[in-house]
């Protein structure tokens, strides 16, 4: 990220609550966000897997797409099948570049009379003009900067929030609905970024703090910061835009082909379809894979990946790297190091031995299936 000391950082509507809770505020995607609270990343991560954790994700971009033909219009900038999305349902998709790279990943929900979008904080300034540029007359994109987004994640999350709005318990995974929660008109989706059951709740900014306090008062709910959010999503094998996917990676390379609708793979009318079509037919040169380093030492983003014997004992590479780690760290629930990254296709099969070049030493590792911790979504 660019030097943040010279730029003005935005705050979310929960900034004063974060400080009151002892949050350690750091710059992230142009926002001042809590990386952790006094409990620490490890405890916050484990609490989310055991009970329920509240995350402020209000930095993310929210928008509505309104008008006849909104779904077809959105398909001009994404390979997702938006037109088949039923009312009350949400799906994950990619915005693609004309060259077949990934402009962003996003969520789209069908609210009946309109579509509701959630995009990454760091990309909203790119995404929204891109979507806008694809719209025909009669379809309008309306950014929603006055809304906060709060995630409640964990095996106890839905039971906890359902004490305030019982209907939430009836939502299926990736279901969306409007609820009155503690007097706040909220848009709730049963989804998240941790691999656990849970919800993401969009509320008016001016009511966000009252809403968050009401949720934090529920039994078993504790706040968690961006640090735990990152280790949780990596254990769940989920991509972070800017690390694991960007404008140079394709949906096929990123192992996100499943986000491309079947119909879209017959029409080939999305941005970058030529590259995707070629990679599906002939294989991508590289693929995103899960990686488990041996022992307990983590290998972080940008660590070069070699074949075994590719690094001499004194640390000099004897052959060129076959890839690079894009996200890596320590998994508190896994109780060990984990990473994801891109490797040449010939080295992408589960169980393939690798060597990671960490601070001049070869660290043995193996290609491993993701998620590292099984998803526990409501089904």
């Amino acid at each position: 990220m660019a030097d943040s000391s010279t730029e003005t950082l935005f705050e979310t509507p929960l900034a004063s609550l974060h400080r009151e809770l002892g949050g350690r505020m750091v710059p992230f995607a142009g926002y001042l966000m809590p990386v952790q609270y006094p409990a620490g990343i490890m405890a916050e991560h484990l609490h989310c897997r055991a009970a329920a954790s509240l995350f402020d994700v209000s930095h993310m971009g929210q928008a509505e797409l309104i008008g006849e033909g909104a779904a077809a219009a959105l398909e001009r900038v994404t390979p997702a099948d938006v037109q088949s999305l039923k009312p009350g349902r949400q799906k994950y998709g990619l915005l693609t570049t004309d060259d077949g790279g990934i402009l962003d990943d996003f969520m789209v929900a069908n609210l009946g009379e309109r579509l509701f979008l959630v995009v990454n904080a760091s990309r909203k300034h790119v995404d929204l003009p891109r979507i806008e540029s694809a719209l025909p007359a009669g379809v309008t994109l309306r950014p929603l900067p006055d809304r906060a987004l709060i995630a409640l994640q964990g095996p106890g999350a839905v039971a906890a929030i359902a004490t305030l709005a019982p209907g939430i318990a009836e939502l299926p995974f990736m279901g969306v609905g409007s609820f009155n929660i503690a007097g706040v008109a909220a848009l709730v989706s049963r989804s998240g970024y941790t691999g656990e059951d849970g919800v993401e709740v969009s509320v008016p900014a001016e009511q966000a703090e009252a809403f968050a306090r009401a949720v934090l008062a529920l039994p078993g709910v504790l706040p968690a910061g961006l640090g735990a959010r990152d280790s949780l999503r990596l254990e769940a094998g989920l991509c972070l835009y800017g690390n694991d996917i960007d404008e140079t990676t394709s949906a096929v390379e990123a192992a996100l082909t499943w986000t491309i609708g079947k119909r879209r793979r017959t029409e080939w009318n999305f941005p970058g379809a030529d590259r995707v079509r070629d990679e599906l037919a002939n294989g991508a040169k590289r693929l995103r894979v899960g990686i488990r380093p041996e022992g307990r030492q983590p290998a972080r983003g940008h660590t070069p990946i070699h074949t075994p014997g590719g690094v001499a004992p004194q640390g000099a590479p004897v052959n060129s790297a076959i890839g690079e780690i894009t996200s890596g760290g320590f998994g508190p629930s896994l109780n060990g190091p984990m990473a994801m990254g891109y490797v040449a296709r010939d080295h992408a099969a589960d169980g393939t031995a690798l060597e990671l070049m960490v601070r001049g030493k070869a660290l043995p590792a193996v290609v491993a299936p993701m998620p590292f911790i099984p998803h526990r979504y409501a089904r």
Partner: protein
């Protein structure tokens, strides 16, 4: 054992008979967060003051640990391999990192005392 001294890299140093025991301060472990791995130097290695000789990994990030004084590594705390969390739980006692036979014990005397280090940490807030 002499008084505990402190470096600007947030290490504490205690000299005892020409051998300095070194670890990271409570301020440092708190800033790092939960430590999950530590990479310690080899015993017998000659190190220069200011040289990066160990790495401490938290859930979030890797950080270098520097030799606050010149000398030879005579012992490392291998118990940290099994229990890196000791660095968080007891940073200034059981969580020590390594022992350096000081080339020049006067280097230790030149480090900050506890009050000076506390004032230094305050300037970082």
């Amino acid at each position: 054992m002499s008084e505990t001294k402190f470096s600007r890299d947030h290490e504490w140093v205690r000299l005892d008979g020409g051998v300095a025991t070194i670890g990271i301060t409570d301020h440092a472990q708190n800033a790092l967060g939960d430590v999950v791995f530590v990479d310690l130097p080899e015993v017998g290695r000659e190190v220069a003051a200011g040289e990066s000789i160990a790495v401490v990994e938290s859930v979030k990030a890797a950080s270098d640990v520097y030799a606050p004084i010149a000398g030879k590594i005579v012992e490392v705390n291998s118990a940290l391999g099994e229990n890196p969390g000791t660095i968080n739980a007891a940073p200034t006692t059981d969580g020590w990192f390594f022992r350096i036979e000081a080339s020049n014990p006067a280097e230790v005397a030149a480090l900050m005392d506890e009050a000076e280090y506390a004032a230094f940490v305050d300037t970082l807030a």
